[in-house]
Symmetry: C2
Subunit: 408 residues, 2 copies
């Protein structure tokens, strides 16, 4: 019934070793690792020397290897491996979100051309089976939004900072030591990592290819003690949220920190846990919570993809073919609270709709709606912290204009 | 690519009408309702008269109808419909948990015999796609436990009683008016409904057929003000939990109310929401939260099954064939807190391991571990309220005996 698959691994870091252990303690999955290609010849390896090679051709040209499992850091090298593997008739499993986000359309076309699947459940929110659910279960056109906590290490940092009053840098360091922060922490704290994941999720939620450069990402690196205090005084916590909403024929999506009320189920998603919330027309809110980072959660997602390959599973990308086509757009505004030291750095004129200004301990807090383009512009200013309001609403620009005409 | 399916519906109550609306507002699902069989000829119907019939043969003998959607209350009549539909070469979608739980093995065999699928995602936890995830994503043998809030109306009642200090009967009445309590409320409050769901979930989690009569169900009907007070004083809430654990070669499962600490993610699952938590060896805890009752959530689950039939999906029941076979057993003990008015109704001698007794306002509270059989026996006593401890642990009896020998 099930095929026995032979795997060739690229990379043997945290996720690779997690996969090795998961695979060896799981019965019933008909797959075995034949070869592991690594770069560093001098590093000591926790498993037998005979598994390793330093020549990628030893895997790519081996006709016995059915599946290439790509688990390296370098996105460009990873894409070459994926491409060559497909050309050589091999299926691919990868968790490389940067590579995927930057090459989604090519990878989609390459799968069609070579009739071999690429699976990548581990690339979005670790152990949460969100892509498979979007593909298989939510395969109609009724999804209205996807949002959630897509990055485990920043959530860990925010949890520690909020609950234990930990210093920001200490919390980051601890997250890295625990193995669920990227080796380049700016990918996490500047929200590139969740942006790549959101780009992938948007394809499987709405059937739209997006250039990750078009997706605005605002990190948690400029959150100040004044912001933390603002949150505490108002009974909020702060979470880094990735979100995309279908409104009319458009999809609006971005990543930014947001004040979260304590009754919001996302408030209770702590430490390295991730969460994905889908809003459908009828099923209403559906929430998935699970570990989003770390060797075992990602390793188990990679394993589920390998298992799916034993019965020839492939993504059908059904949403690309749905009746109501949608396009990605940044022509919307969002409700935000902007803060900075002193006064005047940002003014009421920067807002689409300005609500109020307050001052606290030498910091100004301005509240109102900003266009996404203005959001992007202000986020480049190292003095300015931008956090979405708890009542976060995305409003298409035209509607805003019509509305202001009505009230004029 | 996708087939256009013709549906025959049995029943047009809350879920049937929900399905009708969901189907008519969803594009891209290639299915249409041809006929609806109902019992009551005099009831006025919200859609055109021509859809309806009062003869089941008009659906069962119609060769044009590909899929029978069974949405009636009567479990025996429902099973006959399922059986006849399969014999007539039709696929079946049903959400009838009682019928399913009582006939799972027969339905499994009938599917094989007639080579037609029966899908029933809507039968367990409404809109949460738990069966599909157990079948497709968690298809290895690593799952250790499944537990959660499987009944929306009791969760609604408990939420209202706890958060709004509502009277128990008022809360029940309101739940029924809102349309997510069964017409026979004892199915909910005496925990038969979640027991049936757990029986189904155990098959798809562990590959074991269980007779629902073997699964102990303790409802929320004997929870007293003294228990509510005990919970509040200790910072707990009370939830009705269904749970099944694989320990060694055995599966232990039952439904009972449990004290829940506020840091437990299940504590924040409120009102008619359901939650399912899977514990795997590597993915660790995975939590799914969604609306578990009501016409639209169940209707959308039924719709997802119909959609899956357009590409010939069927359950493979992979866990039945896994290497490590397991058997259902009640030979375990659980940590509980037993309460009753006065003294002496239950004594320390009833416990496997007795911890402590306390008294409050004329009520006795006894804490310790009870065997599941003792649990079943005591639950029949109308004077006794049994609630699992927050540190709920299921211990196989043998281990308990060995342990007590060690400490003897």
């Amino acid at each position: 019934m099930k095929k026995k698959l032979k795997l060739g691994l690229f990379g043997f870091g945290c996720v690779g070793q997690g996969l090795y252990h998961v695979l060896h303690e799981t019965h019933g999955i008909k797959a075995e690792i034949k070869k592991i290609c690594v770069k560093n010849k001098t590093k000591s390896r926790p498993i037998d020397e005979s598994f390793f090679t330093y020549q990628k051709e030893e895997i790519l040209n081996d006709p016995e290897i059915d599946v290439v499992v790509e688990l390296i850091d370098d996105a460009n090298a990873a894409f070459e491996i994926v491409k060559t593997s497909l050309e050589h008739g091999k299926a691919v499993v990868t968790a490389n979100k940067k590579m995927l986000a930057e090459h989604l359309e090519e990878i989609y076309q390459l799968q069609k051309k070579h009739n071999r699947p690429v699976l990548y459940e581990g690339s979005v929110c670790g152990s949460i089976p969100i892509l498979r659910n979007l593909e298989e279960y939510y395969d109609n056109d009724l999804l209205q939004s996807i949002e959630g906590i897509f990055n485990g290490s920043t959530n860990y940092i925010l949890t520690k900072v909020f609950e234990e009053g930990k210093n920001y840098n200490d919390a980051l360091k601890q997250a890295q030591e625990l193995g669920f922060a990227e080796s380049d922490p700016s990918l996490d704290v500047k929200a590139f990592d969740p942006k790549y994941k959101l780009t992938i999720a948007i394809l499987h939620t709405f059937g739209v290819f997006v250039n990750p450069e078009d997706v605005i990402n605002i990190g948690i690196d400029k959150i100040s003690d004044a912001d933390l205090n603002y949150a505490k005084v108002n009974g909020y916590t702060i979470k880094l949220l990735a979100q995309a909403h279908r409104i009319g024929g458009k999809v609006y999506g971005f990543v930014a920190p947001q004040y979260i009320e304590s009754t919001n189920p996302l408030a209770s998603v702590r430490n390295e846990f991730n969460a994905v919330q889908l809003q459908g027309a009828f099923a209403e809110k559906q929430l998935f919570i699970g570990k989003g980072a770390g060797s075992y959660p990602t390793g188990s997602a990679v394993l589920s993809d390998i298992s799916a390959l034993t019965y020839d599973y492939q993504y059908e990308y059904k949403k690309i073919f749905q009746e109501r086509q949608v396009a990605f757009s940044n022509e919307a505004s969002a409700n935000v609270i902007v803060s900075f030291q002193g006064t005047g750095t940002v003014t009421a004129q920067d807002f689409e709709q300005f609500e109020e200004v307050s001052e606290n301990n030498g910091f100004s807090f301005l509240k109102g709606t900003l266009t996404l383009e203005k959001l992007r512009e202000l986020s480049a200013n190292p003095e300015v912290s931008i956090i979405l309001s708890p009542e976060n609403k995305i409003t298409p620009l035209k509607a805003v204009q019509e509305k202001s005409l009505v009230y004029a």
